[in-house]
Symmetry: none
Subunit: 209 residues, 4 copies
């Protein structure tokens, strides 16, 4: 699962070759220089194409950013869904959420890095409504999974609005730190520590019985 793979998975075929290349190089530049500091001209030079071609494929710069962002979101969601599909206890669900998060960041570090940086820009831009809708949908789905009737009531005591932060907060924090280069150990090395920590944080007080 490489960066290239993600793109070829999402935008397959020969006709999309230029589109993939623009995506790839734009992602690289956005991460290295920052989104605002990256100009269309830089992307053009990196792709050895014309500005016209970029506008033809993405409409404008915000379209390019949004395209990258939602591509990342979708790919991440796909992995999460596949992990969740295999989980049948609450505990397994928590593990699935943490593992899928950690594994995806570890496999797609550039896309993950971009996601962190671009969220604010997308929130302010013309695609903010689409983002809000997706967020709601995802939260609803997660909530439905966690509160499904076949699940026990291990999470009863946890305030709803705190839930996601308790589950994913530590993993996200470590992933950010890793992406910034301040720690060396790849996230997957700690996938079980992080999943277990999440589970301990969340499951009802009487952990040992």
């Amino acid at each position: 699962m490489e960066t290239a793979d993600l793109l070829e998975r999402c935008y397959p075929g020969r006709r999309a070759e230029l589109k993939r290349d623009i995506f790839r190089k734009a992602l690289k530049l956005f991460n290295e220089q920052g989104i605002e500091a990256t100009t269309i001209e830089m992307i053009r030079a990196e792709c050895d194409t014309s500005v016209g071609a970029i506008y033809h494929h993405f409409g404008n710069k915000e379209g390019l950013v949004a395209g990258l962002f939602f591509t990342a979101l979708d790919d991440q969601a796909q992995l999460r869904d596949s992990y969740l599909a295999d989980a049948d206890t609450t505990r397994a669900g928590i593990y699935a959420l943490v593992h899928s998060y950690v594994d995806w960041v570890d496999n797609q570090p550039e896309w993950a890095r971009f996601q962190y940086h671009a969220r604010f820009a997308v929130t302010k831009g013309p695609f903010k409504d689409e983002l809000a809708t997706r967020n709601k949908t995802r939260n609803r789905q997660l909530w439905e999974w966690l509160s499904a009737p076949q699940r026990g009531d291990e999470l009863k005591g946890v305030p709803a609005e705190l839930m996601l932060s308790l589950i994913i907060g530590q993993a996200e924090s470590y992933c950010r730190t890793w992406l910034s280069g301040r720690v060396k150990g790849r996230p997957t090395v700690y996938r079980d520590v992080l999943a277990e920590a999440a589970w301990r944080s969340i499951s009802s007080g009487e952990v040992c019985n």
Copy 2:
């Protein structure tokens, strides 16, 4: 402890009145519009001053951003240190870290919001070395506190590079969510839940004895 207080605490006196005002209004605009989208002209208009005055006090836009960022960092550190000073067990230390983090964000939401957004900009800008130095110093201090001889060995099993994320990750995640408006409960409401979750995540396996 309001925003105004923070500034008057850090830059007291009559002569610094304009400087404080620029700081205050710039903070507001950077958070509302984004750092890059905020122009010097907007700040000037908001402060009813001249562009020259802004440059006189801060050198350039990056200097203004860095000034805000390091002011926030210092204020946050001060609160953390004061909480840590009162803690004498490892558990109390973990609680101090989480509580000080949560309390500070709750009290200085604008400064906290800015910190999240500005870190990348400062990392890339001319003050990146100062930031790196401060980060190192802070991490060393925290590490020294946690591994002081009088402390027990409750943290023995936790990988060093994971430690901070396990302690602060959930609090940070919730604070970010709160600042974005997607949840309503103020962080301090959950300060003990978050501290206890951190402690459970970190302390050695036998939680119940």
Copy 3:
């Protein structure tokens, strides 16, 4: 041989029309107002184009100045070379140098005026190395011509570092004065007086035998 001719000679073709026009109008304004006092906006207005077009063609103001400067240098060198090619005695060479200098200034007064004013700016700017290289090359070529084996030893007694000033100094001085408007007679009127004066200054003491 007018200004227009010089430009069409150096930058021929339809596609370079705007580039030539910017060159022409910039030359005029730089001479009238001074280089620093001329703004890009003035040039834009004079050319009835956009600032973007100017930057597209020349990179920045210094690039425009350097472009003009080196164009002038090249054109002047071309005339000098063509005159020197027809000279076969040392005396004819001295005459060729003075005549080509005087004739060029007389034909391209605006370019000559600019050359005098811009040299310092180019010396300080990002093209200083290119200028130094060109200067060296030109001096070496002149020196080779003057000391070629077929030439006599009329110049033996003249210190090398003084040579060029003795040959061209008077012509340059008069040309500057003419360009400043303080004298009226066109330089070509005095081309032979100046050439003869240079020859007398340089040739060995026993002038009359």
Copy 4:
């Protein structure tokens, strides 16, 4: 005869100490950076004074430039006059002009350098009339000296508007080259070669009789 001497000669006394210092440092900066590129703030920093003090003494930047320029002009004229006073033949007069020019530049290289660069600025600025008047006066004086009744008619054949260039052109050219660093020999080394060359250029055709 050092730079310091020139200033103490022209602006003596303790009360003028700051004024001399500003002059000195401004001269240095104008030569190193160019007049337009030198800011009042740079001069202030170099003198360790306040901008107010500079404005108090010179009115504005143009006043400072003009002050330096006319100081140089006066000092140069003084030397020329003293040399001319000792000359009683036409030949001695030519020698006096060339020698005084060369000696002054050699003794006051910074002032000379400034003169070359500042002439254009003064010509365009608010002191242009004063400069024109001084130029006229000086030319009239020189002309009167050269055409005084007691002088012979060695210069009869030389066109009037060419005269000054023939006399001083070579010396000026060499001095400029020396100041730019492209040659090493100090001008005074060649004072007699240059004077003799000027005399040969000017005196009537029959040089040897």
